[in-house]
């Protein structure tokens, strides 16, 4: 049960509804216990659980014919960088790190929540849950290069959003 908290947090990012997140975590454990004999010793158990969690979430979305993750992913993967509103930020204007230094946690949480699903999942799994690119690729069933691309674009979208919040916070 060591990872029930982090599984629940991630499930909440996927479903946005606490009761649905709890269902997802329970179904994840149920599947994991049933498939315990297929778990390969020496691999990362936590990453394996997260993979089951994401597979289950994808299957549920497919079953409901509202596969927002896939649709979202297709759109964002086709988008080029010009669609990401970070351009125009000149390093000469403001040191970026200083700009975000006083960001309030609720603002950051809101900005993360506002990201498109595909970006939010990648950034969350990397920066909060601290999985490797390869582990995230396995969980999301996408190539490693796509994982890095989504993390990059997700971070730049976050920067853009938080940068615009700055005058409000100041």
């Amino acid at each position: 049960m060591a990872w029930v908290d982090s599984l629940y947090r991630t499930a909440l990012r996927l479903t946005h509804v606490p009761a649905d997140a709890e269902d997802l975590v329970q179904e994840t454990y149920l599947k994991a216990f049933r498939a315990a004999d297929r778990f390969q010793a020496g691999t990362n158990l936590r990453a394996w659980l997260f993979t089951i969690l994401h597979n289950t979430a994808r299957n549920r979305a497919r079953d409901r014919a509202r596969d927002t993750v896939t649709a979202d992913s297709e759109v964002v993967d086709r988008a080029d960088d010009s669609a990401v509103a970070w351009a125009g930020t000149s390093p000469a204007e403001t040191p970026e790190t200083l700009l975000l230094r006083d960001t309030l946690t609720p603002d950051l949480q809101a900005a993360v929540e506002a990201l498109p699903d595909a970006f939010r999942q990648a950034v969350w799994l990397r920066d909060v849950e601290e999985f490797s690119y390869a582990e995230i690729a396995e969980m999301l069933a996408i190539p490693v290069g796509t994982v890095m691309s989504r993390i990059s674009r997700g971070r730049r979208l976050l920067f853009d959003r938080l940068q615009h919040l700055r005058p409000v916070n100041a």
Partner: protein, 262 residues
């Protein structure tokens, strides 16, 4: 100097510090001369560092005690099922006729519609089997009513539902150990706890839901699910090891469970 496209895939590992020395030098060299890429790296790094700083706060949400308990109960169920993997699979034949009988009642009743909830039958069965194990294990500390008359009043006032009379249950060899109102999903459910041939048996009643009949294996247990009159019933019991005994119990169990459907 490498162009922007050739270093594009290196920027995120570069920001994360997850890159080899030769590639790092390549990116260093490029961003010194390329303002757009320098800007991109700076923005990404600022967010990377902010997320690292705020990581503990972002990760402060924890699972509820109820979720933790259910997952723990699933783990215990899994261990118990692995230990008893050779047990006879007699409950399927034993409980399937119950579902069929329930279907007959539902089909002849006025309310035979099946409104699927968001939860799958397998998850419903797993959750309630976990609750079955948890509640029997913690009966002494939970708010369990063991007085049949009080249990009847509680179920009638909470759900407008009349649970099976103790005499009817006793005829089927089911002794009422207790009853409680428990949380289920976004609402409440009734949980009746019986002993049958020395084994714990649970009957859950979830109001205002309907779903198709099914019998679900859940790690050493089986759950029969059926609905009637806008209520869903789930009977949970361990898979018996003695198939002959199971067959003999069928008619008595059916009578009690059908009583519970009204």
């Amino acid at each position: 100097m490498p162009d922007c496209t050739s270093i594009d895939s290196l920027i995120t590992p570069y920001v994360d510090g997850d890159i080899g020395a030769p590639e790092r030098r390549l990116v260093d060299e490029h961003v010194r001369r390329c303002p757009p890429c320098y800007s991109r790296v700076s923005a990404e790094r600022a967010v990377f560092e902010l997320m690292r700083t705020k990581r503990d706060e972002l990760a402060s949400v924890t699972a509820s005690p109820a979720l933790r308990d259910r997952c723990e109960a699933l783990r215990r169920l899994s261990s118990a099922a692995a230990a008893g993997a050779g047990a006879a699979k007699a409950w399927r034949t034993r409980l399937a006729p119950l579902a069929v009988a329930a279907g007959v009642v539902a089909a002849t009743g006025a309310a035979s519609m099946y409104l699927l909830t968001e939860r799958s039958s397998s998850l419903l069965a797993a959750e309630l089997t976990a609750d079955h194990v948890k509640c029997f294990g913690m009966k002494s500390v939970l708010r369990v009513t063991d007085d049949p008359a009080e249990a009847e009043r509680t179920m009638a006032s909470t759900f407008g539902w009349h649970m099976p009379q103790p005499e009817a249950a006793a005829q089927a060899g089911m002794e009422l150990l207790g009853a409680r109102v428990c949380l289920y999903g976004r609402g409440l459910a009734a949980h009746l706890m019986y002993l049958h041939n020395g084994e714990p048996v649970s009957v859950f009643m979830i109001p205002k839901t309907s779903r198709p009949e099914s019998v679900v294996d859940v790690m050493g247990h089986e759950a029969a699910i059926w609905s009637t009159g806008g209520r869903t019933f789930v009977l949970v019991a361990r898979e018996p090891e003695n198939q002959a005994e199971a067959a003999a119990d069928l008619s008595r169990m059916t009578a009690v469970v059908q009583t519970a459907m009204h």
